[in-house]
C-alpha cells in the first residue's frame, strides 16, 4: 500500500509547474485592455508561469505590446491571413496545439464576445469542461463565477488536466501594460497548417463587419457610464445622455428595453445578455432596474438613478436616487457638473 505523507504531497504540489496561457484579444493593431485583466487573473494562481498568445494577421505591433505586459514570460505569436478576424475555427487549433506542446495547465481569455466564442470550442477539443465568466480565483483549481444572472455566486473546483475559462474583465484590475520583457516565440512553423486545415474542413468564411464608431471610451472600460432605458422615449433623446457622459469623459449605455425599442444599437446594451460593466460611476436614467439589467451593472462603485417612478427597483441598488422627470433633471445635472468642475 502506498501512503503519501502530507509533506510529500505539499512538495509535489509546490513543484508542479503551472503553465498559464492567456489568449490575447486584439484588432491586429492594438491589444485590447481586456487582455490585461485576464493576465491579472492568471497572476492570482501561485507560481504561475504566464504566457500570452497573439494570433492574428499583420499583428506585430500587438506582439510588441503583449511582450511589455508586466508578469508575462513568453509571447507566442502567429501571423496568418485566416486569423485576421479571430474566428473560432481558425484560433482553436492553435490554442489546442499550444496546450499539447507546452503542457498548459490553464488557458484563459476575456469573457468578451471574442473569448466566449472560441474558449468552449478549445475545451471540447481538449475534452475538458470550461468555466465561464470567472470572477475570482482562489487557487489553481478553485474558482468563483456568477450564475442566475448574478443572483448567486458558485464556487467551483475543477480536476481537469487543463483548466479552461473566460475571465470577467470587470472583476480583475488591469496588469501594467509596461515593465515586462517577455521573450517572443513564433509558432507559425507548426501552427499555420493547423489553421489552414481547420478553415478548409469547416468551410467557414468571414464575409463582412459593421462596427459602430465612437469617440467615447469603450463601454466596458469606461470610468463613468451613463445609461438610458425605455423612459428616454426615443433615440434622439440619447443626445442628452451623450452630453452628460462627455462632461465626465464617460461612455453611453442602454437597457435591453431601450435597445428593443430601437432607440440605440444593441452593442450599447448593459445587462446579462449584453455587456457587464463596473465603472466608478453608473448613472441609470429612465431605467426601471430589471434583474437582467442589474446583472450587468450592480458591481459599479457608485450608482445614481434618475427615474420619475419612486417605486422603481433601481432605487434599491442606487447609492443616490433622484425621483424626477429625466428630461428636466439630465440637462440640469450636465450643467451642474460642468459648473462644479
Amino acid at each position: 500500500m502506498n501512503i503519501v505523507s502530507p509533506n510529500t504531497l505539499n512538495y509535489i504540489i509546490r513543484n508542479y509547474s503551472t503553465q498559464c496561457l492567456v489568449v490575447a484579444e486584439h484588432d491586429n493593431k492594438n491589444l485590447m485592455a481586456s487582455t490585461l485583466n485576464a493576465v491579472t487573473a492568471a497572476s492570482k494562481i501561485d507560481g504561475a508561469n504566464i504566457s500570452v498568445l497573439v494570433a492574428g494577421s499583420k499583428c506585430s505591433s500587438v506582439v510588441d505590446s503583449a511582450s511589455k505586459i508586466k508578469g508575462v514570460s513568453t509571447v507566442y505569436h502567429i501571423d496568418h491571413p485566416q486569423l485576421e478576424h479571430g474566428l473560432a475555427e481558425s484560433i482553436t487549433p492553435v490554442v489546442v496545439g499550444l496546450s499539447n506542446k507546452q503542457s498548459l495547465t490553464h488557458i484563459f481569455s476575456p469573457a468578451t464576445n471574442f473569448g466566449k466564442n472560441f474558449i468552449p470550442r478549445v475545451a471540447a477539443n481538449l475534452d475538458v469542461s470550461a468555466l465561464s465568466e470567472i470572477t475570482s480565483i482562489q487557487n489553481g483549481n478553485t474558482f468563483k463565477r456568477p450564475i442566475y444572472a448574478g443572483n448567486a455566486i458558485a464556487t467551483v473546483t475543477s480536476d481537469e488536466k487543463v483548466k479552461v475559462g473566460t475571465i470577467r474583465t470587470t472583476a480583475f484590475e488591469k496588469a501594467p501594460a509596461d515593465g515586462g520583457s517577455a521573450q517572443k516565440v513564433a509558432i507559425d512553423d507548426w501552427a499555420a497548417k493547423l489553421v489552414d486545415e481547420s478553415v478548409q474542413q469547416t468551410g467557414i468564411k468571414w464575409v463582412s463587419q459593421e462596427v459602430v464608431k465612437s469617440e467615447r471610451p469603450e463601454l466596458t472600460s469606461a470610468r463613468v457610464v451613463v445609461s438610458g432605458g425605455r423612459g428616454m422615449k426615443s433615440g434622439d433623446n440619447f443626445k442628452m445622455l451623450e452630453e452628460l457622459a462627455d462632461t465626465m469623459g464617460g461612455a453611453v449605455g442602454a437597457s435591453r428595453a431601450a435597445v428593443d425599442s430601437g432607440f440605440v444599437s444593441n452593442d450599447l446594451q448593459v445587462g446579462q445578455t449584453g455587456k457587464v460593466v463596473a465603472p466608478e460611476l453608473y448613472i441609470a436614467v429612465g431605467i426601471s432596474g430589471a434583474i437582467q439589467h442589474l446583472a450587468g451593472m450592480k458591481d459599479s462603485k457608485v450608482i445614481v438613478a434618475i427615474n420619475k417612478d419612486a417605486e422603481a427597483p433601481i432605487f434599491q441598488v442606487a447609492d443616490i436616487g433622484l425621483v424626477d422627470d429625466l428630461f428636466k433633471a439630465v440637462p440640469a445635472l450636465t450643467e451642474a457638473i460642468k459648473k462644479a468642475k
Binding site: S132, A154, E160
Partner: protein, 252 residues
C-alpha cells in the same frame, strides 16, 4: 437528402422568478418554482420552425436532456411547430461538456443539416454548449446570431452575429451550428389546437448509457452563495444634492 434541424431545449427556472439559494448552499431552490423553456431556446425553436415554414427545412426535432419534466419543454416546442422530440434522461445539473457529447451522438443518429441552440441557458449562464458541440463535430459555428439566411442551392448558411462593437457576417458550409441571440426573432405563442396536437406525438426517452456517452464531470460545485447585497442608498431631492453627493464620493 432531407433537411432536418435539431434544436436542443433546456428546462430552466422561469426568467421572471426570484431565485433563492438552498439552505445547504449547494444550489438554488427549484421545488415549487415556476419552470419554463430557456428563453434563448424558444428563439431557436422559432427560427427552426420559420425555416420549415419557408420550405427550407423539412423537419424540426426538439431535444431535451434532463429529468422527466423536460418532456414538458419538448411538448412546448412541439406545440410551437417542431415535428418530433427526443428526451434524454439525465440529472438537471449536467455540465455543458456532457450535454455536448450527448448531442454529438444524436447528431450522428439524426443527421441534421443544422443544429440551432440558444446562446446560453439563463440558469448556469455558461454560454458553452453550441461551441463545444461544434468543436466535437468539427463543424463551423456561428454564435450570437441575429440573422440567419440559408441558401439551399449552394448548401450554405449566412449568419449575422452580434459582436462587441457591432455586427459580423459569416458564411458557413452545411452542416453547421448556430447559437441564437435575443434579437434573432420573436417567438410565437402556441395555439391551443397545436398544444392538443403536440400531446399526441410520442416522444422517445433515451439514456446516456444507451447512447454510449460518459457524462461524468470533473467540475464540482462546492458552494452557492447569495451575492453581496448592495445597501440601497438614500434618495435626494434635487440635482444639486446629486452633485454634492458625487463630490463626497470624490467622483467629480
Amino acid at each position: 437528402m432531407s433537411f432536418k434541424i435539431l434544436v436542443p431545449v433546456k428546462r430552466v427556472i422561469d426568467y421572471a422568478a426570484k431565485i433563492r439559494v438552498r439552505p445547504d448552499k449547494l444550489g438554488v431552490e427549484t421545488n415549487n418554482v415556476k419552470m419554463s423553456i430557456n428563453p434563448f431556446d424558444e428563439i431557436a425553436v422559432e427560427e427552426a420552425v420559420r425555416l420549415k415554414e419557408n420550405t427550407i427545412a423539412d423537419s424540426v426535432v426538439a431535444v431535451s436532456i434532463g429529468p422527466k419534466e423536460s418532456l414538458e419543454t419538448i411538448r412546448g416546442s412541439l406545440a410551437m411547430g417542431a415535428d418530433a422530440g427526443i428526451h434524454v434522461s439525465a440529472s438537471a445539473d449536467m455540465q455543458p461538456l456532457g450535454i455536448a457529447k450527448i448531442l454529438k451522438k444524436l447528431v450522428e443518429q439524426e443527421k441534421p443539416k443544422l443544429v440551432i441552440l440558444g446562446k446560453q441557458a439563463i440558469d448556469d449562464d455558461s454560454n458553452q454548449t453550441a461551441q463545444m458541440l461544434a468543436g466535437l463535430l468539427n463543424w463551423p459555428q456561428a454564435t450570437f446570431a441575429s440573422k440567419v439566411v440559408v441558401d439551399k442551392a449552394s448548401d450554405k448558411v449566412t449568419v449575422t452575429r452580434e459582436i462587441d462593437g457591432g455586427l459580423e457576417t459569416l458564411e458557413m458550409k452545411l452542416p453547421a451550428i448556430i447559437s441564437c441571440d435575443l434579437r434573432l426573432n420573436e417567438p410565437r405563442y402556441a395555439k391551443l389546437q397545436n398544444i392538443m396536437k403536440a400531446k399526441k406525438i410520442v416522444v422517445p426517452t433515451k439514456t446516456p448509457e444507451e447512447l454510449g456517452v460518459d457524462v461524468s464531470s470533473k467540475l464540482k460545485i462546492v458552494s452557492v452563495e447569495e451575492p453581496a447585497k448592495r445597501v440601497g442608498g438614500s434618495k435626494v431631492q434635487s440635482v444639486d444634492e446629486v452633485v454634492a453627493n458625487l463630490k463626497k464620493h470624490a467622483i467629480i
